[in-house]
C-alpha cells in the first residue's frame, strides 16, 4: 500500500514539473507570437544577419581546431599526456561563459581594439573550443576500440586506421556535437553582453533579448525570445538530423 503511494507521488511530481516547463514554453510561444509585431522587420533581419555571421565565423575558427586537436589527443598522444589533456579540457569546458566574456572584453576589445564582430567571434570561439573538444572525444570514444585494434593488428598505421576506419564511423557524432555546441552558444547572453557592452547590443540575438528585458521592454524581449527559441530549436534539429543521417552503425 505504501509502495503504491510513493509511485503515485512520483507521477504527481512529474506532472507538476512538466506543467511548469510547458508553462515556460507556452509563455514564450504565445506571448512571443502576439508581440511579434513590436519588432521592426528591418531591425530583425540585421539582428539575424549579425548573429549568424558572428556564429559562423566563431564556428569556423573553433571547429577545425577542436577537431584536429582532439583527434591528436585521442589517438596519437601518449597515455599520460592524454589523460592530462583530457582533464584540462574538462576543466576548461566547465568555466562559466561569463568569464570568457570578461577575458574577451579585456583582451580583444580593450587590448587589441578589434571591431565588435571579430572580438565577439573570437570570444565565442574560445568559449566553444573546449566544449567542442569534449563532444568530439565523446563521439570518438563511441566507436568500439576493437575495430581500431583489429586494424592496427593487421598492420595498418594509426593514421590510416583513424582516417579510414574511425572517422567514417564517428563523423556524424562529431559534427552533431559541434552543431549542438554552436546552438548552445547562440543562447549565450552573459559573455556577449560583457564583450559588446550594453550600448551596441543590436548584433547578437540573445544579448538584445537580455538587454531589452533588463531595461523593462518586456514586449520586445518576448518577441526576441520567440525568435531565439526557434533558431535554437532549428540548430538542435539540424544536429539531430546530422547524427541520424550519418546512420552511424555503432552510434
Amino acid at each position: 500500500m505504501k509502495k503504491e503511494r510513493t509511485v503515485y507521488c512520483h507521477w504527481l511530481v512529474t506532472i507538476l514539473v512538466m506543467g511548469l516547463l510547458l508553462w515556460v514554453l507556452g509563455f514564450v510561444l504565445w506571448f512571443g507570437l502576439k508581440s511579434l509585431s513590436a519588432l521592426d522587420p528591418q531591425k530583425l533581419t540585421s539582428l539575424f544577419a549579425g548573429t549568424l555571421s558572428i556564429l559562423v565565423v566563431a564556428f569556423f575558427i573553433a571547429a577545425p581546431l577542436a577537431f584536429a586537436s582532439s583527434l591528436y589527443i585521442f589517438a596519437f598522444a601518449k597515455a599520460q599526456r592524454r589523460s592530462m589533456l583530457l582533464k584540462l579540457t574538462e576543466a576548461l569546458a566547465a568555466v562559466p561563459p561569463l568569464i570568457y566574456g570578461l577575458v574577451g572584453a579585456g583582451v580583444f576589445v580593450g587590448g587589441w581594439e578589434l571591431g565588435t564582430t571579430w572580438a565577439l567571434a573570437l570570444t565565442l570561439a574560445l568559449m566553444m573550443l573546449p566544449q567542442m573538444q569534449k563532444s568530439t572525444f565523446e563521439a570518438l570514444a563511441k566507436v568500439p576500440p576493437i575495430l581500431s585494434q583489429g586494424s592496427l593488428a593487421l598492420g595498418a598505421s594509426q593514421v590510416v586506421t583513424q582516417f579510414r576506419l574511425v572517422l567514417p564511423q564517428a563523423w556524424p557524432g562529431i559534427l552533431g556535437g559541434m552543431l549542438r555546441t554552436a546552438g548552445r552558444s547562440l543562447g549565450e547572453s552573459a559573455a556577449v553582453v560583457l564583450v559588446l557592452g550594453t550600448m551596441s547590443q543590436d548584433q547578437f540575438l540573445a544579448a538584445a533579448l537580455f538587454v531589452n528585458a533588463f531595461e523593462g521592454e518586456l514586449f520586445l524581449a518576448t518577441a526576441l525570445a520567440f525568435c531565439l527559441l526557434l533558431t535554437i530549436l532549428f540548430f538542435y534539429l539540424l544536429a539531430a538530423l546530422v547524427e541520424r543521417a550519418g546512420g552511424s552503425f555503432y552510434g
Partner: protein, 264 residues
C-alpha cells in the same frame, strides 16, 4: 608515403599547440590582471570586509536554495522516467527534458521577470526583485538540467541488475529503491555537484530578477547580488573584478570537477 603520414600527425600536434597556447593565454590574462589589481584594492581589505563577502554569501545562498528546491523535483521526475514509466512514454519525456535542459537560461529569466517577480511583488508588498525570486528562477532552470544529469546517472546501471531483481519477483519500485538507487548513488551526487557549479556560474537569468544591491542577504525578500551578477554588471569597469572572476572560476570549476570525479 611515410613522409606524408608524419606530416599529418605533425599538423595535428600543431593544432593541439595552438589550442594550448590560446588557453594558457586565457588563464595568464586572468591571473596577471587579478594580481595587478592587488595594489589598487589591497588584498587584506578585499578579503576582510570589502565588497567580497556579501557577493560570496549571495552566491552560496542562491545556489544552495535553488538546489534544495530543484533536486527533489528533478530526482523524482528522473526516477519516474527511467524506472517506472512505460517505455513509450519515457522516451517522449526524455526528449522533452533534454529540450528544456538545452534552452538558454535568459528565456527562463524573461519568464521569471514576467510572472514570478510580479507575483512576489503582490504577495510581499515590495518590488519583488529578491533572493526568493532568484531562488525560484534558478530552481526552475535547474530542474531540467538536473533531471538530465540524473537520467544519465540512472542509465549507467546495467539492465541485467534490474532484470535479475524483477526475475526474483520484485516490483519496479522495489527494484528501484533497493537495487538501482544504491548502485548509482555516487553518480547522483556527482550530478548534484555539477548542478551546484551551474547554479554558481549562471548570470543573465539571475541578474534579471534579484534586484542587484550589494548587501548581505538577510532575508528571503531582500535584493541581493551574487559573484556572477556583479561580474556581469561591472565586468567592463576592470579593477577588482578580475579577482572576483578568479574566485568564481575556482569555485565553479572545482565543484564541476568534483562532480565529474564522483560520477566516474
Amino acid at each position: 608515403m611515410r613522409k606524408r603520414r608524419e606530416k599529418i600527425v605533425f599538423f595535428l600536434a600543431m593544432t593541439v599547440g595552438v589550442v594550448l597556447v590560446a588557453e594558457a593565454f586565457f588563464c595568464l590574462f586572468l591571473v596577471t590582471k587579478g594580481w595587478s589589481c592587488r595594489e589598487t584594492v589591497g588584498l587584506p581589505f578585499f578579503f576582510c570586509k570589502g565588497s567580497f563577502l556579501p557577493l560570496l554569501l549571495g552566491t552560496v545562498f542562491l545556489a544552495v536554495g535553488a538546489l534544495i528546491l530543484a533536486v527533489p523535483l528533478a530526482f523524482l521526475t528522473a526516477v519516474l522516467i527511467s524506472e517506472l514509466a512505460p517505455p513509450h512514454l519515457a522516451r517522449k519525456l526524455k526528449i522533452f527534458i533534454s529540450v528544456f535542459a538545452n534552452l538558454p537560461a535568459v528565456i527562463y529569466g524573461l519568464f521569471a521577470l514576467s510572472f514570478i517577480v510580479p507575483m512576489l511583488a503582490t504577495l510581499t508588498q515590495s518590488s519583488g526583485f529578491s533572493l526568493l525570486a532568484g531562488l525560484l528562477t534558478l530552481g526552475l532552470i535547474l530542474i531540467p538540467y538536473l533531471a538530465k544529469k540524473f537520467l544519465a546517472a540512472l542509465s549507467t546501471v546495467p539492465a541485467s541488475l534490474r532484470q535479475g531483481s524483477q526475475a526474483l519477483g520484485a516490483t519496479p519500485w522495489e527494484t528501484t529503491r533497493s537495487i538501482v538507487l544504491p548502485v548509482c548513488r555516487r553518480q547522483i551526487w556527482g550530478g548534484i555537484f555539477e548542478g551546484a557549479a551551474f547554479a554558481c556560474g549562471e548570470a543573465a537569468a539571475v541578474l534579471l530578477v534579484t534586484g542587484n544591491i550589494v548587501q548581505k542577504p538577510c532575508s528571503l525578500s531582500s535584493p541581493i547580488c551574487t559573484l556572477s551578477t556583479y561580474l556581469l554588471l561591472y565586468g567592463r569597469e576592470g579593477g577588482a573584478v578580475y579577482l572576483l572572476a578568479i574566485l568564481l572560476l575556482v569555485l565553479v570549476v572545482g565543484l564541476s570537477l568534483l562532480g565529474k570525479e564522483l560520477a566516474r
